[in-house]
């Protein structure tokens, strides 16, 4: 009789603790502490990912789960608008790429994030459908000298920038589907043997030598009937593959003809948006985990394997931007998200916030509408669950600050008569505030501040709510000293990290009141420009404890709005999951993976009591206890 080692190549072990590395796949062990046999199980699941910046469906998609590219699309969230936006995903968030030269939707794509091919699609012109193709180098789209042989939209494809396939699609009039199948050799397009079933909006992916075409719409303009037929192409000829379980179109695809994946789209018996995912082994499609939310018109190709894919955007209508990642892995991946935290007793904006997600401090602030209005003295302490009253400030102010819950410092701020710039500072010891030495340059509640009570930093701000400052001051636990000024005057920005490795995001640098995409580094003596943010922010909240880890959230970004979040990993910015309730002039503290967003203003709800807690993405081994039942 065979034993486990002969079958799996691994002996059953006795361990005091569970293993934590992915090499444990297939391992069975006896956990002597728990008194149980355990193993690592392969799981298949979708988890939420950062939403795309510009909501839309029918964008062209290509690349991998950790280096994905989408371009163009159709946004129906207000009135139908064809997009030219390109977005790039790095496994954590989306950033803007180079715009397409023409607004286009329903195009096909192939290749990688830095070497992509884009072909066909619908445009605002007449005729709407085009045959043009473009190449992308990671920043710029360039038209190829030669176009496809047949202009069409809702065409899909796969391959590389120099060896690609374009399959099916829709003609201009009468909106009928086609059997056209074309090959790109890096220079020109040529017709291949037509596919057997005319279809557009199909789910197709793979390299030229292992390409699959699954499902699709066969009716006029993309409606029913949907086919369940699969065709495979091996670089030479077409063959019939196994039928998909849920006939559909307009979904996503990943992998190739030996290991494929399709997901979402529209179809099924009720002709509705579907969440179904199916995995292919070269002959049979098997049902896998459903998407959490509808994804219609998500293109094909965001994933070169059937174990790691991304689905981004949704045609709707209305169009939305949520994204999800699919992982078939021995790890359980839990997506980052904001959750509601305990409510403040006193709702307010322009408040100071320091500390951590489980030991936070909120002080001062402003109230516009709800009585009592005006600048505040209240201090509240957070324990990760609820807020309780702390010692009140000696005088009302809307202010920033730095430090921790039991050792905090205020930084000037707006004082009476509102909005007068203040220079007073106070220190908190966990119980009460005492007066500290004054700032050299007074500021309203628009300065940035970071650091600890013994080594703090204040930068910029305003002598009035309309007059920016460049002053920078360091605090040594007792007094303030003026140091190297900001490169230019700035307010409404935010800082994280220690005094000698501080990092600042966004703000306002010039009229009219617009948000900047700047980031700045301060090393204790010199200011240097950091990477450009995905989108500008001002009056936002931040968290992070170094100059290589920052989360910026809320505020007044014109696009995509007050609930938006972006993260910085020391190299660049990417989008992150959105707040539940948009807000500006809020407080923020904690780390980039355990943040706290406090109060704020979401006009006409000015004096928010709500808080939110951010938890970053986690990945742990999928360990299961073995039982005999």
């Amino acid at each position: 009789m065979s034993d486990y080692k002969e079958i799996k190549g691994k002996t059953i072990q006795s361990l005091g603790t569970d293993p934590s590395d992915t090499g444990a796949e297939g391992q069975v062990w006896y956990n002597s502490a728990a008194g149980a046999f355990k193993s690592v199980v392969v799981g298949e699941a979708w988890s939420s990912a950062a939403p795309i910046i510009s909501a839309r469906g029918f964008a062209a998609a290509t690349g991998t789960q950790t280096a994905s590219l989408i371009a163009g699309g159709l946004d129906t969230s207000s009135s139908p608008t064809i997009r030219n936006k390109t977005e790039e995903y790095n496994g954590s968030g989306w950033s803007a790429g180079g715009n397409l030269p023409t607004d286009t939707y329903g195009a096909g794509a192939a290749g990688t994030q830095t070497a992509a091919l884009f072909f066909g699609g619908g445009t605002p012109g007449s005729p709407a459908q085009v045959a043009t193709s473009l190449t992308y180098d990671g920043s710029t789209w360039t038209a190829t000298p030669n176009s496809m042989n047949t202009a069409r939209d809702q065409v899909l494809g796969g391959g590389t920038q120099t060896s690609a396939l374009a399959v099916g699609g829709r003609l201009t009039s009468p909106g009928s589907m086609v059997t056209n199948f074309e090959e790109w050799n890096g220079t020109s397009w040529s017709n291949l043997t037509a596919i057997s079933t005319a279809r557009g909006y199909t789910n197709a992916n793979g390299p030229e030598t292992a390409f699959f075409i699954a499902g699709g719409a066969t009716g006029t303009n993309g409606g029913q009937p949907y086919t369940s037929a699969t065709e495979e192409y091996d670089g030479t000829s077409l063959s019939t593959g196994g039928n998909i379980n849920v006939a559909r179109a307009q979904g996503g695809a990943a992998g190739d003809s030996t290991a494929g994946l399709i997901f979402g789209g529209r179809g099924g018996p009720s002709d509705s948006n579907v969440l179904n995912t199916e995995s292919y082994d070269g002959s049979t499609w098997t049902t896998s985990s459903n998407l959490a939310s509808e994804k219609r018109g998500i293109g094909a190709g965001s994933g070169t394997t059937n174990s790691a894919a991304i689905a981004a955007g949704n045609y709707g209508p209305p169009s939305t931007g949520p994204a999800e990642e699919y992982n078939k892995s021995v790890n359980v991946i839990t997506g980052a998200a904001w959750a509601s935290g305990g409510n403040l007793s006193t709702g307010r904006y322009e408040l100071g916030t320091v500390g951590t997600q489980t030991a936070g401090l909120a002080f001062g602030g402003n109230r516009a509408v709800n009585a009592p209005t005006g600048i505040r003295t209240e201090t509240e302490e957070y324990n990760g669950t609820s807020w309780t009253s702390g010692g009140a400030l000696p005088a009302a102010k809307a202010t920033q600050g730095f430090g921790v819950q039991t050792a905090a410092v205020t930084v000037g701020g707006t004082v009476a008569p509102n909005p007068t710039a203040g220079s007073t500072t106070e220190e908190y010891n966990g119980t009460s505030w005492t007066s500290g030495n004054s700032l050299n340059t007074a500021t309203v509640a628009m300065a940035a501040s970071t650091g600890l009570e013994s080594a703090g930093l204040r930068a910029g701000g305003g002598s009035t709510p309309a007059s920016r400052l460049s002053a920078v001051e360091e605090y040594d636990g007792t007094s303030w000293a003026s140091v190297t000024s900001l490169p230019s005057t700035r307010f409404q920005f935010q800082g994280t990290g220690p005094q000698t490795a501080a990092f600042f995001t966004g703000g306002n640098t010039a009229p009219p009141t617009q948000e900047t995409t700047d980031s700045l580094d301060y090393n204790g003596s010199t200011w240097t420009a950091g990477p450009t943010m995905v989108f500008g922010m001002r009056l936002h909240g931040v968290s992070g404890n170094s100059n290589t880890s920052n989360l910026s959230f809320g505020g007044e970004p014109t696009i995509p709005g007050r609930s938006s979040t972006q993260s910085f990993d020391g190299t660049g910015f990417v989008t992150a999951p959105s707040l539940g309730t948009g807000r500006s002039d809020l407080g923020g503290c904690g780390t980039a993976s355990a943040s706290l967003a406090v109060g704020g203003n979401n006009a006409p709800s000015y004096d928010l009591v709500n808080t939110e807690e951010f938890t970053g993405e986690t990945s742990v081994l999928n360990i299961k206890t073995l039982t005999t039942s």
Binding site: S272, A339, S340, A368, V369, G580, A603
Partner: protein, 102 residues
């Protein structure tokens, strides 16, 4: 099938919506305790479990617009003698603007 459910529910603080909820369905809060919720089973269950009241999109929009209009009126009525328009914006922030639900 409609993309969203609309409803009203009071944010009671910790646990009102969890990270798991946010991963399971779209959720965004608006004035007047209006919530726009992804239209799936978990989204619908969440609204019911929070003692929420489902609204039509039109009803939800009316609630939001009423709060915006009230805030605009309050903003217009909040004046300090001798204050310029610019100073008023500095003191109160910009006048609230219309909000359109998705």
């Amino acid at each position: 099938m409609a993309l969203f459910i609309y409803g009203t529910a009071t944010n009671t603080g910790k646990g009102f919506f969890t990270a798991e909820d946010r991963r399971a369905f779209f959720l965004r809060g608006y004035p007047a305790n209006v919530w726009v919720i992804g239209n799936n089973e978990k989204g619908a269950l969440w609204l019911a479990e929070k003692n929420g009241v489902e609204k039509t999109k039109s009803e939800a929009q009316t609630l939001v617009t009423a709060e915006v209009d009230a805030a605009k009126a309050a903003w217009d009525a909040n004046n300090v003698e001798g204050e310029t328009a610019e100073q008023k914006v500095q003191r109160l922030g910009p006048k609230p603007t219309d909000i359109t639900l998705p």
